[in-house]
């Protein structure tokens, strides 16, 4: 039996990789994938904690998160496709019409 802390540490590492990915990457799709990695890191936590506490809430939550992530991807990719049609770039550094 692997202790809970192992899962939590792995999940924290994955989450951090996701955060770093969002901050470092410049391609909108890569940023989006990094966000998905963050969400999946959280899912891992939920499943592990749910198993540890012997409660179903965590497992159920993961299904909701997956559904929400799928919806977000559908909308997100549509926005990115539309943007690339108008601007012919998905580099977030070049998407800078508005700034203070």
């Amino acid at each position: 039996m692997i202790p809970l802390s192992y899962y939590l540490v792995l999940s924290a590492i994955l989450f951090t990789i996701g955060v770093v990915g969002v901050l470092v990457r410049r391609n909108a799709i890569m940023i989006f994938m990094a966000i998905e990695l963050m969400l999946n890191a959280v899912n891992l936590s939920f499943v592990a904690i749910g198993k540890h506490l012997d409660s179903l809430d965590g497992q159920v939550f993961v299904f909701f998160v997956m559904a929400v992530a799928a919806a977000e991807v559908a909308v997100g990719l549509a926005i990115i496709v539309n943007l690339s049609r108008n601007k012919e770039t998905i580099n977030v550094d070049e998407i800078n019409i508005m700034k203070w």
Binding site: V22, I35, M38, F64, I97, W100
Partner: protein, 484 residues
């Protein structure tokens, strides 16, 4: 592990159900309407909102849990739902002509506004972190699409992308916070969390504190408190103006409702921990919002920074965390809804296709050319600045007095000083309207009936609440009475 099949208590969800069905109906109706003439879809949506508002009154005063403690229907959520429904209705009224002018009159717009409102309503009624998360996402995903609704406009696209990336990024933080809270307390039920915390002796569980911090980041992103506010001006500037109006009020109302429920109730035993944090965030939010707003030349951007500042004022009510504090949040939200929607309404009416007439300079001489419109804008700006006899003044008065009553004298002083700073940039627009000569041709404003109705409702709300505040304050006080 046992799974209880929840009892279906459809009545408790009546407003949400009505609104969801209306949204689907709008999608159906719009298919049968000729291109470019989608007004009837908007009217169907308005009818649905009206029925939902009526059904809210059925639930008033009977607090109850529904769906296996996933939903909490109490006066608190009903009050916020009322604000959200009014916001949605006014935004739809303001959108009808605006969308036609932009050549984007599609029925889906109204459906998305309604779906987003449903998400907001679930957030306010959430008694479980799952419901709150799902409500938040339903709201946000619809708003991502709405922000990019003018699909040929580069600004609108950019606004949608920024909102999407940062919104999804912040939801991941919120979600991680929920996971930590779940790990520390063993439940996602708000009541369960508060019961666990009142029983627990060892409060400094790092997992719990980390969870609380991450939740604060997640909520902070959505209501645009200062370290997490960078997306706000860009998104508000680029999004279609009627969507900006809807976002600036609706999202704030819904997220503050969930924020209060989670922090002031479920995490009440951690209050000494989060109170200090919120104090700093509120001061930063107010000050930075107001100071940067001074430098803005675009009116939508200025209103975006002003909305950041208002989020700071509202947080003062949470910090006060007494009964007056919570009821003043509700009152402020109501006042802010009418005022801000009205101000954005004038911006929409005065604006031109594309990016026309959005600079503060363009307002020069507008007060003489269109006396009524100028007067309306002046009333809304006075209310935002907090000058009597408008709703904004009374709202600020209650928030500040709640802070003083709870002993946060310095916070109240900083708040009042910020209010003074804000008068400068709100009055600058008024000065432009009345004391400068027009810099460009101001012809060609066309008043549409729906916009007139929306502006009348907004100005009536602003003045009525400002002159006779007590019935609304009583309403707000009753709303927090049976909280949880």
């Amino acid at each position: 592990m046992d799974l209880v099949i929840p009892k279906i208590d459809a009545l408790s969800l009546c407003p949400e159900l009505v609104l969801s069905i209306t949204a689907m109906l709008v999608l159906l109706v719009t298919v049968y309407l000729p291109k470019g003439r989608k007004d009837p879809a908007a009217y169907v949506g308005l009818l649905g909102i009206f029925i939902a508002l009526m059904s809210l009154t059925l639930l008033w005063g009977k607090p109850r849990y529904a769906f296996n403690n996933m939903i909490m229907v109490d006066n608190f959520s009903i009050f916020f739902n009322m604000v959200i429904l009014v916001t949605a209705a006014l935004s739809i009224l303001m959108s009808i002509t605006y969308l036609k002018e932009e050549g984007m009159s599609h029925g889906e717009f109204y459906a998305l506004i309604l779906f987003s409102a449903v998400g907001m309503m679930f957030m306010t009624a959430g008694a479980n972190l799952i419901t709150i998360f799902l409500g938040l996402e339903t709201m946000s995903i619809s708003l991502y699409v709405l922000a990019g609704f003018l699909r040929d406009s580069n600004r609108s696209n950019e606004s949608a992308l920024k909102y999407l990336l940062l919104g999804a990024f912040s939801s991941a933080f919120l979600l991680y916070g929920i996971a930590f809270i779940y790990g520390a307390t063993g439940t996602t039920d708000l009541k369960g969390i508060s019961e666990f915390l009142s029983r627990a002796t060892y409060m400094k569980d790092p997992m719990l504190l980390a969870g609380m911090g991450l939740l604060l980041v997640g909520f902070g992103f959505k209501i645009a408190t200062v370290p997490f506010h960078m997306w706000t001006p860009d998104v508000y500037e680029g999004a279609p103006t009627s969507v900006t109006a809807f976002m600036s009020v609706g999202v704030k109302a819904a997220v503050f409702a969930a924020f209060v429920r989670v922090f002031s109730h479920a995490l009440w035993d951690l209050q000494p921990d989060w109170n200090q944090l919120l104090w700093i965030l509120a001061v930063l939010t107010m000050t930075l919002g107001n100071v940067i707003a001074i430098a803005q030349t675009n009116i939508k951007r200025m209103l975006a920074y002003s909305s950041i500042a208002h989020a700071g004022y509202i947080m003062m009510g949470m910090i006060a965390s007494n009964e007056l504090g919570t009821s003043s949040i509700l009152f402020y939200m109501l006042a802010y809804a009418f005022t801000n929607l009205g101000a954005f309404g004038v911006v929409i009416l005065f604006g031109r296709k594309g990016e026309g007439n959005l600079d503060i300079e363009d307002y020069s001489g507008m007060g003489f050319k269109y006396p009524v419109l100028g007067l309306l804008m002046a009333v809304f700006l006075f209310s935002l600045a907090g000058i009597p006899p408008t709703a904004g003044f009374v709202g600020k008065f209650y928030i500040f007095s709640a802070a003083v009553k709870a002993g946060y004298i310095w916070l109240a002083i900083i708040g009042v000083m910020n209010s003074l700073v804000s008068v400068y940039y709100y009055l600058r627009v008024t000065v432009m309207m009345y004391m400068k000569d027009p810099v460009k041709d101001l012809e060609g404003l066309h008043w549409s009936p729906s916009m007139i109705v929306a502006l009348i409702i907004a100005v009536a709300g602003t003045l009525l609440i400002g002159i006779f505040p007590s019935p609304y304050l009583d309403l707000a006080k009753q709303s927090v009475l049976h909280l949880m």
